[in-house]
Subunit: 314 residues, 2 copies
DNA sequence: CCGGGATATGCTCAAAATGAGCATTTACCC
DNA sequence: GGGTAAATGCTCATTTTGAGCATATCCCGG
């Protein structure tokens, strides 16, 4: 495991993992402490350089994650290769490229290991959680964004900024699109409202090391989109679960509340689950039947996901 | 542009572009000749190594494409980073990793430049074109696939193979999913039915250099999915076009025919286009009104695409 | 033992979106 | 002037959504 002598122009390739889980109705991401980088330690994603011993990128990623967190991964998909910006410490030209191939992993269990910790992902994106209604911090953020638009060099640029704000954050309360996590983060970044870009407070969420928060935003957007057309939520569920638990996990991921009866109708008629014998005691209320994921749907035609209706409450 | 001395373990990072266009109702991909690699020259995608002078990955890609083909790119999105398999000539361990960051580009004009050439992409995937009904080569391919399934080491493995065949190629005529281009290619690859994997003929399509056909398959699948939820087709259209032309391009991309009246209703009610003054002479038939893409939809709420109905004909 | 609180489940209904056709218009060609 | 080829306009039966109302069952406190 000796590091070879770097040469000036060979790119450095890193692997990074956004590992997501959902426990107790809260969506989580697995973080590790990152040394230094300014004051003390920051939170970061499990990551490490691609090594010659790694047979493939994905195997290398799994190795790094197990080494750093003890977590073994099930569902893994490639997310994006970062390297386009904010990754060139050496200036505008010359220097080495630093790429990072990021992966999205979904896991069921949340056993904390070593230094790693599970954090609610709304710690990093508080304004993405609309389950309790419009997040209060959005008003302050919107005000700062508008100030940023007003401070544009030209009126046209200001108008473009306003358009983007409306597009990503929803114009006039209508039209919040939960999938645009990355676009919102990038807008906040450009506007200098995130700590990584110099904001004095964490109104726009807790910072992460390097560009890891951008990776997390990419992962959330991707997952929020994907649950609608692929049955990936079940990667986060235990073997048996109630429809209520399933709904609360979907709501936790997407950040919006759903109409209960319609949600269960959707799940039922898609044939995504089947009943088991058992029921749960749960908290108060009538006991719910435990369901299990019908793996066969993966072999059936389009293998649908869970379209999110727009309903606000149950 | 001198190549630095490679060191044993530093990964090599390449950039590759899948550049797509649609002219005359035929979907095209821009190819360049690739020297050697066995007998004579093969077709490949524009590609080149990431260089220190490249400010970003995407800018590097654009530079390579312009240098090799003279084509300048408009819409560009990152596709996938390949490196997981069939890219390690040096054996199972040791040696350098060779990654390739592939991009998808959509262009309007198709001016052929230098050695590059536009090819119909169904040259590489003939079985993906269902516009004239079920492609005849599919019968022969299906027979070979079934033979491959029958030749599995165990009955369970054979059943798994049959499941995959049904899932990707559609079971019993029903359920062809035009988006599963990559899964179909990978299945054919595993079954040894493509030239790259040793097939004696080109029944499953023309080969490309390296793993470029895998990249192309990835791009087609991505594009076929994306036109359904983002208005990306218009990147391929001229400034003014008729609804008939638009439909024929969508059909060319997706490989299936659509119900004409429903298609135009969809486009109209989504507000994706607006009328211009002009009409066309066209071929026979009543002249059609020329339309233009309403760029404003990109600023409106969800910015929808063109859902493909299942209808078979017009 | 009874009523209230909290869910889980079952069903209904109107509105909107889909899938398939039928019928008309308006060119060009012979 | 009739025939052919699209482009357009409309209709209609089904499905799919979005929203509620009503019941069924548990636990708990009194």
């Amino acid at each position: 495991m000796t590091e070879p002598e770097p040469i000036a122009s060979a790119p450095m390739v890193g692997l990074a993992a956004v590992i997501l889980a959902a426990t107790l109705d809260e969506p989580r991401v697995l973080t590790v402490p990152v040394a230094g980088q300014g004051a003390g330690r920051a939170e970061g994603l499990p990551a490490g350089p691609l090594e010659p011993a790694h047979p493939t990128l994905e195997r290398g990623l799994r190795a790094w994650v197990e080494r750093q967190t003890g977590q073994s991964l099930g569902y893994v998909e490639q997310l994006y290769t970062f390297g386009d910006r904010n990754r060139r410490p050496g200036g505008e030209d010359g220097g080495r490229h630093a790429l990072s191939v990021a992966y999205l992993a979904l896991v069921r269990e949340a056993r904390p290991a070593a230094d790693s910790a599970w954090q609610s992902w709304y710690r990093y994106f508080p304004y993405e959680d609309w389950r309790a209604g419009r997040p209060p911090s959005l008003d302050a953020l919107a005000a700062r964004l508008e100030a940023w638009a007003a401070a544009a060099a030209s009126p046209e640029e200001g108008r473009r900024r306003l358009d983007r704000i409306g597009l990503t954050f929803g114009a006039a309360g209508s039209g919040w699109n939960e999938e645009r996590v990355l676009e919102r983060y990038e807008l906040l970044f450009e506007a200098g409202l995130v700590p990584e870009a110099g904001a004095p407070d964490a109104l726009a969420g807790q910072a992460m090391a390097f560009d890891h928060r951008r990776m997390l935003a990419t992962a959330l957007g991707r997952l929020r989109g994907k649950i609608k057309y692929r049955p990936v939520v079940f990667e986060l569920m235990p073997p048996a679960f109630t429809l209520g638990q399933l709904q609360r996990v979907v709501e936790a991921l997407s950040g919006v509340l759903l109409h209960k009866q319609n949600f269960r109708r959707l799940v039922a008629q898609q044939g995504l689950v089947e009943e088991t014998e058992a029921v749960t005691a749960e908290t108060g209320g009538r006991p719910a039947r435990l369901m299990r994921f019908r793996r066969e749907v993966l072999l059936e035609r389009p293998a649908p996901g869970l379209r999110l209706p727009s309903g606000r409450a149950g």
